[in-house]
């Protein structure tokens, strides 16, 4: 049987049968002991766990211990894949296992439906006024069955008081869905799915794909948030969703990830040329001892690889989404850029005969310049200046000559990427907007055209912690600023030899350090 995952906003609010049964299923899982591999805690620990944190948050009682089986200690716990090209398929396998376990739990209850499927939280839904609000079934502790609502989580701070506020731009899909490549390149386009890596639980590299960068990361930070009036640099003040170590404990986590998983289908469905990697190293999963393993509803454990995650209707997954239509109405990155260049350069025939599948597979990525020293963010906007190397920046400006780029495999000038390297700090809920090319004294909010994107630092404390495998180097983020550079260069509005970059806090960013802010060109 193929189950249909439905948009939470297409369900009757607040307590559609799908949500009520989900709550009942979660209640069953939460009642199981940690040692049960189908329990709430065991499933959440697969995503991430740290003993001290779970105890502090009350998820481990004083006399309670984590399971001591070799399977749990050496394989099952702390598996989640972030900042790498396994992020999407790993979470699909994890989510499918969770869904089947919840479904089996529901079916132990009287009157249960046999077709329950996990709903998804479509924060880009156009049919409701504000789809970025937390669905009401999750927002209050009251529920039809009485007692504590299993879907409500008191450690879900949102803007500080429990109210979740997500701006439209925090969940913008344009960057993720319009990139035609699943696999990204280091320092250049991160790709839809991320840069090639081995098994990587603790992030330390600039390998995050566009889908993970947004909407995945901002939703985590904006839902989890931190307790109002407290210091978010103290992890004890953070919400569950703010940290990979605790995110799986919040019932909304699964609806968020169902939507992320759906967006993979949306991306594939947008264009026949958007394809998953075909390399063995992706299809077979990471080499080495650490494999992807998830519990099954019958209490067994099952290993999986990305190649098992390609068809949602295949046995073992058995689901499809209610809606995988294209929210960008067919707009493609290259087309949009060339249309913009057509106006800026006043060249009418620039987009003639354009084929999206002409995107080359082996781009050249090259450093253009960087700021002069590390920068530490505060409560107010922080600025830095990226100086560029004259001989190298000339390659970029030369690429705008029509005679140069028209002959390329992908007929466009160089793309440009802002790199925020080795971001370290203790605040997983830190979020900031990045503006590029703003004149000194200009008010950022009045110049949305200079806004490069939003950065959410989900997972920063682990990647800053040198005790973690490969930890200590922090996170790195890559944001495409091609549109801004096109405009600044072609209109002569700003000097590309010295480009101002402004960081505007959305959530508290005190103590966040960025070791280097740099700019790279990606030539085709």
């Amino acid at each position: 049987m193929t189950f249909t995952r439905r948009n939470v906003w297409s369900l009757q609010q607040p307590w559609a049968p799908e949500l009520l049964w989900y709550a009942r299923g979660v209640k069953v899982l939460k009642s199981r002991p940690f040692s049960d591999i189908t329990s709430w805690k065991y499933l959440a620990a697969i995503h991430g766990i740290e003993d001290v944190v779970w105890r502090q948050f009350g998820w481990l009682a004083a006399d309670e211990k984590q399971p001591d089986t070799p399977e749990y200690l050496n394989q099952d716990r702390n598996q989640c894949q972030h900042h790498n090209w396994y992020f999407i398929p790993w979470h699909r396998g994890y989510l499918a296992a969770y869904e089947s376990i919840v479904r089996a739990a529901i079916q132990t209850l009287p009157g249960a439906p046999d077709d329950w499927a996990l709903p998804y939280w479509n924060y880009n839904d156009t049919a409701v006024a504000n789809p970025r609000l937390l669905p009401q079934a999750f927002a209050t502790n009251a529920w039809p069955d009485g007692g504590d609502n299993p879907l409500f989580e008191p450690r879900r701070f949102g803007r500080g008081d429990g109210v979740v506020v997500i701006r439209k731009e925090d969940v913008d899909l344009k960057a993720a869905l319009s990139d035609p490549d699943f696999e990204g390149v280091l320092n250049g386009s991160p790709g839809f799915g991320g840069v090639r890596t081995p098994f990587q639980h603790n992030a330390d590299r600039p390998n995050e794909g566009l889908l993970e960068q947004g909407p995945h990361d901002p939703v985590h930070g904006l839902v989890g948030g931190y307790r109002k009036g407290t210091d978010p640099r103290d992890w004890r003040n953070l919400g569950l969703m703010s940290m990979p170590l605790t995110a799986g404990l919040d019932p909304i986590f699964w609806l968020h990830h169902a939507n992320i998983d759906r967006l993979w289908e949306v991306w594939l469905n947008r264009n026949p040329n958007f394809k998953n990697p075909v390399l063995k190293s992706w299809l077979d999963g990471p080499s080495g001892k650490q494999r992807f393993v998830v519990p099954q509803a019958d209490g067994s454990r099952k290993e999986f690889a990305p190649k098992d995650m390609l068809d949602t209707k295949a046995p073992g997954l058995n689901y499809l989404y209610e809606d995988i239509s294209d929210p960008l109405s067919g707009q493609q990155r290259l087309n949009l850029r060339l249309l913009s260049l057509k106006t800026l350069m006043d060249v009418p025939g620039i987009t003639d005969g354009l084929e999206v599948d002409a995107v080359p597979k082996k781009p050249t990525v090259e450093l253009l310049g960087a700021n002069s020293k590390a920068i530490t963010l505060g409560s107010d906007p922080s600025a830095t200046l990226v100086k560029t190397d004259k001989p190298t920046i000339r390659k970029l400006t030369d690429s705008f000559k029509l005679s140069t780029f028209a002959l390329r495999a992908s007929p466009e000038p160089d793309r440009v990427f802002l790199n925020l390297e080795n971001i370290t700090g203790d605040n997983d809920a830190a979020i900031f907007d990045v503006y590029v090319g703003l004149a000194e004294g200009a008010i950022a909010a009045e110049h949305p055209e200079n806004r490069a994107g939003v950065v959410s630092l989900f997972g920063i404390s682990e990647s800053t912690n040198i005790a973690k495998p490969h930890g200590g180097s922090g996170l790195s983020k890559v944001i495409e600023i091609t549109d801004t550079i096109d405009r600044l260069h072609l209109t002569g509005e700003a000097d590309l030899n010295a480009l101002p970059v402004l960081f505007v806090p959305v959530n508290d960013t005190r103590g966040i350090s960025i070791k280097r802010v740099s700019i790279y060109r990606q030539s085709t």
Binding site: E50, D51, V52, V53, R55, Q56, L60, A62, D63, E64, K65, N74, L186, N187, P198, H201, N202, D204, R233, D234, W235, R236, L279, K280, S281, S287, G288, K289, K362, V365, E366, L367, G369, A370, S372, A374, K387, D389, P391, T392, E421, N422, D426, S461, N465, I466, A467, P469, H470, G471, G472, S473, K515, R516, S518
Partner: protein, 268 residues
């Protein structure tokens, strides 16, 4: 199709293959022209005196007549053979985070810093090796002591901390004097943590000159594997098991929580 793409599609990392090729060439040179490397091995190959005092006097004699150039070449060859495969991470960092016209300059400066630290460390390691052989009066016994020392060091927390620091990737400046200093400092710093992580392993072939090549090759494989992995070749699990076995059962979770710093999770 580009060669690197062919390697990738065959499941091989082209950089790792290139670095291993350099390493094997260095091993080949060591094996074929021992007139260079033997300069180093002479130190331990000569009949070892059974007494510590003899060892010291021999050491004094050896260093007073040492051909420094041959020593430097020999040690550099040994380091290239053993350490090159473990340097993929730092080299990629230098390559991708430098201006394209400064990439080779940055890598050269890195190696200057890295080899400088290792050369200094090797002088000390040779002294230790010679003293070990002199004290024990036998190369195999000195080798056994070195292996024991390596095992103890391998399982120590201090070494884990040093290894963790081998994964640090510093900021690299792009312009001015800082663009020269940063790669040099990166090389020296990386060399320092590399020495502190691997000194005990490097001591073994120095104590066993009759088997130095296979021991060095094994060491190179181990270092590269460990450096690429996250958990130190499973030693962390061995350590964890030992610690669990030795941990005082009376320590409660609450006591451990109370002992934890107020605003931080455990860090080395």
């Amino acid at each position: 199709m580009v060669v690197s793409t062919r390697f990738r599609e065959a499941g091989l990392d082209p950089l790792a293959c290139a670095l291993w090729s350099i390493s094997l060439v260095a091993f080949g040179v060591i094996a074929l022209s021992d007139n260079v490397h033997a300069e180093l091995m002479l130190l331990c190959r000569s009949d070892p005196g059974p007494l510590f005092a003899e060892g010291l006097s021999y050491l004094h004699f050896y260093y007073s007549t040492l051909d420094l150039a041959a020593f430097a070449v020999g040690v550099t060859l040994m380091l290239v053979a053993m350490m090159t495969p473990a340097l993929a991470g730092p080299l990629l960092h230098l390559w991708f985070r430098s201006l394209s016209r400064h990439r080779w300059r940055a890598i050269t400066l890195f190696f200057l810093g890295y080899l400088g630290v290792w050369l200094a460390a090797c002088v000390l390691l040779f002294v230790i090796a010679l003293l070990l052989v002199s004290l024990t009066g036998s190369e195999p016994v000195a080798g056994a002591v070195a292996v024991l020392g390596w095992l103890i060091w391998q399982l120590s927390t201090v070494r884990s901390r040093c290894l963790a620091r081998c994964h640090q990737r510093p900021r690299l400046s792009v312009f001015g004097m800082a663009a020269l200093v940063d790669p040099l400092c990166f090389g020296a710093t990386h060399g320092f943590w590399c020495v502190t992580t691997c000194w005990a392993l490097m001591l073994i072939p120095l104590c066993l000159p009759f088997a130095h090549l296979p021991v060095m090759l094994g060491g190179a494989v181990l270092i590269a594997y460990e450096r690429a992995g996250a958990n130190g070749l499973g030693f962390s699990r061995v350590k964890g098991a030992i610690r669990r076995g030795l941990a005082p059962r009376s320590t409660t979770i609450r006591q451990r929580l109370a002992a934890a710093p107020a605003n931080s999770r455990p860090r080395p």
